[in-house]
Symmetry: C2
Amino acid sequence: MIQKTIIVNGVAHNIFVDQETSLAKLLREQLHLLGTKIGCGEGQCGACNVIVDGKLVRSCVYKLKRLPDNAQILTIEGIGSPDNLHVIQKSWIKHGGAQCGYCTPGFIVSSKALLDSNPDPTRDQVRDWFQKNRNACRCTGYIPLTDAVIEAAKVLRGEAKVEDLEYKLPHDGHIWGLDSKYPRPTAVGKVTGTLKYGGDLSLELPPNRLRLALVQAKVSHANIKGIDTSAAEKLPGVFKIVTHKDIKGNNRINGLAFPSNKGDGKERPILCDTKVFQYGDAIAIVAADTEEHANAAAEAVKVDLEVLPAYLSIPEAKAPDAIEIHPGTPNHYFTQKLAKGEDTAPIFANNDVVIAEDSIITSRTPHMPLEPDCAFGYINDDGAVIIHSKSIGVHLHKVMILEGLGLTDDKLHLVSNPMGGTFGYKFSPTNEAIVAAAVIATGRPCYLLFNYHQQMQYTGKRSPFYGTVRMAADKTGKILAMETDYDVDHGPYCEFGDLLTVRGVQFMGAAYDIPSIRGEGRTICTNHAWGSAFRGYGGTQAQLISEIVADELAVKLNIDPWEFRYKNVCRPGATNPNGQILDSYSYTEMLEAIKPKYEAALKKAKAESTPTHKKGVGLAVGSYGCGLDGADSSNARAELNPDGTITICTAWEDHGQGADMGAIGTAHRALTPMKVAPERLKFTWADTRNPVSGPAGGSRSQVMTGGAIRVACENMLSGLKKNDGTYLTYDEAVAAGKPTKYDGTFSVPGEAVNELGQGKPFMVYMYGVCLAEVTVELATGKTTADNIVFAVDIGKINNRLIVDGQLWGGVAQAIGLALSEDFEDIEKHKTMVGGGFPYSKDIPDNIELLYFEHPREFGPFGAGGVGEIPLCVPHPAILNAIYNATGARVKRIPALPARVLEAIKNKD
Amino acid sequence: MIQKTIIVNGVAHNIFVDQETSLAKLLREQLHLLGTKIGCGEGQCGACNVIVDGKLVRSCVYKLKRLPDNAQILTIEGIGSPDNLHVIQKSWIKHGGAQCGYCTPGFIVSSKALLDSNPDPTRDQVRDWFQKNRNACRCTGYIPLTDAVIEAAKVLRGEAKVEDLEYKLPHDGHIWGLDSKYPRPTAVGKVTGTLKYGGDLSLELPPNRLRLALVQAKVSHANIKGIDTSAAEKLPGVFKIVTHKDIKGNNRINGLAFPSNKGDGKERPILCDTKVFQYGDAIAIVAADTEEHANAAAEAVKVDLEVLPAYLSIPEAKAPDAIEIHPGTPNHYFTQKLAKGEDTAPIFANNDVVIAEDSIITSRTPHMPLEPDCAFGYINDDGAVIIHSKSIGVHLHKVMILEGLGLTDDKLHLVSNPMGGTFGYKFSPTNEAIVAAAVIATGRPCYLLFNYHQQMQYTGKRSPFYGTVRMAADKTGKILAMETDYDVDHGPYCEFGDLLTVRGVQFMGAAYDIPSIRGEGRTICTNHAWGSAFRGYGGTQAQLISEIVADELAVKLNIDPWEFRYKNVCRPGATNPNGQILDSYSYTEMLEAIKPKYEAALKKAKAESTPTHKKGVGLAVGSYGCGLDGADSSNARAELNPDGTITICTAWEDHGQGADMGAIGTAHRALTPMKVAPERLKFTWADTRNPVSGPAGGSRSQVMTGGAIRVACENMLSGLKKNDGTYLTYDEAVAAGKPTKYDGTFSVPGEAVNELGQGKPFMVYMYGVCLAEVTVELATGKTTADNIVFAVDIGKINNRLIVDGQLWGGVAQAIGLALSEDFEDIEKHKTMVGGGFPYSKDIPDNIELLYFEHPREFGPFGAGGVGEIPLCVPHPAILNAIYNATGARVKRIPALPARVLEAIKNKD
């Protein structure tokens, strides 16, 4: 240890530090400046940016031995505070720059450093700066961030007024609608770093808190012969080492398997007992006083393993000699069939049809949120275990872990923290049961923070599809039939693997009016990372495969891809693969709007292609459902408070996507007659003690929980309305014996698909058409997305900042999905950079969004969902654009340079 | 544990807390809002004041179960920050309201609450508010705090400008002098709560820090037969239990005994081994992860004791059957004699003289700083043990503990933190060796925070004198001779007990020109609280006794007390009891200035006395030395830094008295030719690695270290001066091969007194004359100090805010000393209230200060010290005023109502 004097945000601090400690840890764990976030922890994301002596640094890799004595450090707390926002922070709010908000303090500090040195940057200079400084954002696609910096710079230069950055309520007081850029309620907390995430709250637990570290498997498949914790228990700072023996319940996560699943869905242990099923599996938990002590003890736990063959892909797990990963359950444990219309075999056999067929492999995509997984828990005064995590399904997860822990319903409550992005991986419980087990075993508050390697290696991934699609069209280009066949590599744990497999029969070729379809999908157990939800869930994989084959079919037919799609997309009366009529027939309208842009893009690509750099244009169409499969419902409560505020109480989990704004915007719209000032509306963080709203997945929340909020608010309006048309105050309501709390329930009459894939799985859908322009460097195969136009029909819009952000960010993820992101190599892909995270210059500055606002029957005030659609359409457009540029089909994503190069070679 | 949502300084916080935890602990240890200080920890001091839902609360006793959900909490951090000071904070700075600064955040929060409810309070309403809310200040006497609130209120009401609160440098740029109210450098940190004290820094140690708790004796005298730590070691969170067996050195504090002391000065153990010598003695140290765990384990350590008779007063310890507390050393272990002039016996035997004689007992006074004792330590990268504490003698304490710990000189460094007041108790090491022992035994950073009971029961106290003084005067009232005889109860540890005893022969009757004196003082070992330094050290006790007797002599002579003093004080040529001529003969001048006020007061007392409430007027004169006894020296270094700032590097410890301003003011004065902007001057916190400046005690620092700073700065001027009269910059100096660092040493040619009390112990003295007006309620004996006029000659003045603060605060302590403060009953007196802490209404709002600025030969630019003089003069004036009011002499302080009542009864 050494002593140094440093000046943080203008105040001198005498610090006592280990020289090997990072500046970020000092700021967070010693000086409690929690606005500086730790994302990757290895200098790849910039969430930890601070300014040291005028220079931007990534504090997570800046060791204190480098820090000069009397160094001047500026953190987000020194830039502005909630009651004294800096111009950059105001601009960030105006442009919706904070989505999950976890990268925000780092970006704002970075922007401050940029504008300090260059007060008048171009957009490209801003993007270069973020690229150079590795400021990573996973939510926004960078566009609103660049917008925010450009406008802040203008104000700082005196060329615009600060007031221009501040939101003004329109005259009629509305905040709902496509024209509304009302800032989300959490925006101020996010731009100032004062909103506390799980890792921040963990550091504010009472001083007797214990830091957890996991003993994790370093092999992918093994029998456990023994766990020896004796040496580790004696190490400094260790309070307890928890193994499966300490768990009172059945030690299993309940994966809620379908009845037709060959497994029982209870194969995932909370802590491994008999076997290791995948790399990273948790074998024991060390509870200690500090991170270092916990980690040291975790290293010292001895696990005696009998290593088994690891099946890291579908072919390996399906091989005849493969043993059952879960003894008693075949590795191929679920099948979903599809049969729409007349048999397809005769159609394909007809010589008059043109057939395209291809086999495509999708990636095991990592979600790469900025905030690594974290949770904490404690036992409350009622003896209940309370777990705070990044759960996006608190009620769902409670059901999934209750029995495993051996708790009764009243002794476990789950709460979701503000989250630095999940994008779906937290649809599965990750750390909830582990932390609960530690809390129960120790009796003390416990917290578990993953580092980024753990985030990559031990949270669920988007499961790869190995899929083959055949399409047959008549000579005019009209699709007559489709056949699909696919395997889903869902890793070792089946939870939602059956559901995911069903998505294949729902979304392959879903945009098209195809009278006859036959298909089959199979779920395969492997020893690679377990499958979890991810934006576009199944629709992403399904539509990549079918949209490539559709493109191939257009080529075979010698019909322009736009013409081909325009001819085949669903028009009024057409049904989707499940035999369901669509809730909005907007494809043609969207394609028409895209057409002139498409034609111009083709012309431009031709003109600008060179012998070394080929430009191309691709199209794709697609859809996704808003809801859980089949019937769905949600609940909410509107509570009038004594101070005149109204709390919208739900369990709408906020990954960062905007549950705050979703709830407030919907409630404000519903309460229009009451003329409530929007700041009087409050939202809640999701909690199992709130009304059951269902998980925040499948783009269902705005529809389902939005619907429940609408009903609750309408009930409140009825309950509080006075004869003169005004409404009772809290005191008046109490005096009149009227309730002040109003419940709302909203249900939709969906029907899950049957064993042949027929039904009405969703009552609200989103639709999209995408145009992508790319450049391929022929020598290397390196592909760049140059320009994206994305037309969507997501129903009526609650808030423009939110949907713009969701779509820009989703398109950015689609670009990463298409070109760079992967988690196949457990070592190589364990970092953000290794996983192919898209930085600012990987995403084009021009992603044009076109909205086609058709109201949805089942959406509150006509609104649908938005989150999944950008992960269902743009990536096949990019793959098709690569073909357009090069004539080569890439058949496995990501379309890394080597794969593109190989496809180009194979083409010749 | 429970979860709550609270809004702290406008930001919502999700908190997870034990309901029994105090709000103060939540704010400090969970939310890291360290501006909220914990003083007494039991609702008696207001340092922890915060505003909850508009109401001022003492957060240390406000349990979280009381805190409403959604409570709005305002802490000092929410009132203003260094770059955005609130009007109250600016006013606090202007009026010098922050002395040690530890009470300051609480006072400012309290003032905010007052002004929120009453924007135009009278001075008395301000004082009532502070009284009602128990806002305790130990430094300032409350006057500048009331001033600050009144002026802030004016500005807040718009009746004065904010700019009026801001310091303006005079045209010529000087900051030195009686007219200078330049704010001390630490003022901003103190009014914003951003200056970190020991308890704050402890919470910023790396996460592997250990919290210490002491196993302390609950008896006052015992043999130790065994210490059993085995059960305690097994308790949760315990890392190690340290006993004397773990200490590598001789386990003794070196008390630096005089050669003539019968003990060797090494009787105080770091951790008790063979015996317990006083209540609270440290027997073992528990190092654990949390306060609760450390305390629980400390309770579980079993100590097997053979209890011995406890000698809690001088008569008990001197009784013939008393055993030796330290076997081998008699309980009366030191004697100092005094012989000035001719033998006194014949004079007293002369029938022509008038004789007064009385025996007075002084109190075991507790220092009662706002900040309880605290320290922390760690092993640095060079393997040295670093201890941060409230040491006011870092180099001295290093010598005192080095051998006991078994360390070599290069392996121990002591540093002083910003301190919330010591007033002298930290002239003795308290926790330094204990924390060092724990650091060595554990290898980890450790911290020890005392609660207020520990502060009261286990730090040194002002030692009681049991003294008899006789004075003989001729019929005209001229004092001819004095005889003194006194015992000093120094508790069980001799350190500085011999020195204190010497003070008796230096200051009894010191203001008077007494040709013949004989005296003897004895130091007695007892089992009550060990003696440590306290402002006025010895002079306080000595002059109380002699000034009461002088007053009695005036009565016997039937001479007005003013006349008597005017006749007898030292005039040019007269010598003090040590035979030394005075360095300033200003008593007559001061008495003359006091005279009209005295006469008016007498008239007023007569007019306003009622049959139930008697008013009276008292006088006293006195002096105190600035320095250690005998020869003294100090060192400093002036360092020109690359950025043009100049660091004044010393080990001038800052109890809160103003070492910051002392150093900067003196250096700025010395560097006048350089025309340095004052903000370019930096000071250092005391550190054994800085130049040896000697301890900050005996009002020596401004003289001695101020002198060393003057020399260092003058050396810098010589070294950097260019031919054109300007000075080299840092770069120029380096280029020219000139040094940038300049040492300065300053020594004075004092001579410690010899065995007969003759010598020149101090080369600079302070002098004072005090007029006190009191009211005594005859029915109860309750005495109130109504008005104080205090004339002082402390040489030239560095900074007015500092000396006003020192004098007002010192007079307030003298009032407490005279009327309420005590630490005699170990249980009853263990709290602030129990110890008689003076609150705002106990101190008059009118303490008038009169300055007589006679330059001192040995003071830098003529400056002397200031801190001790207000503890040497006002309290006898108060006792004499009680006599004047009632005709009764109180002969033991504090003059509690019961004692006054008894004296009144005995008089009749």
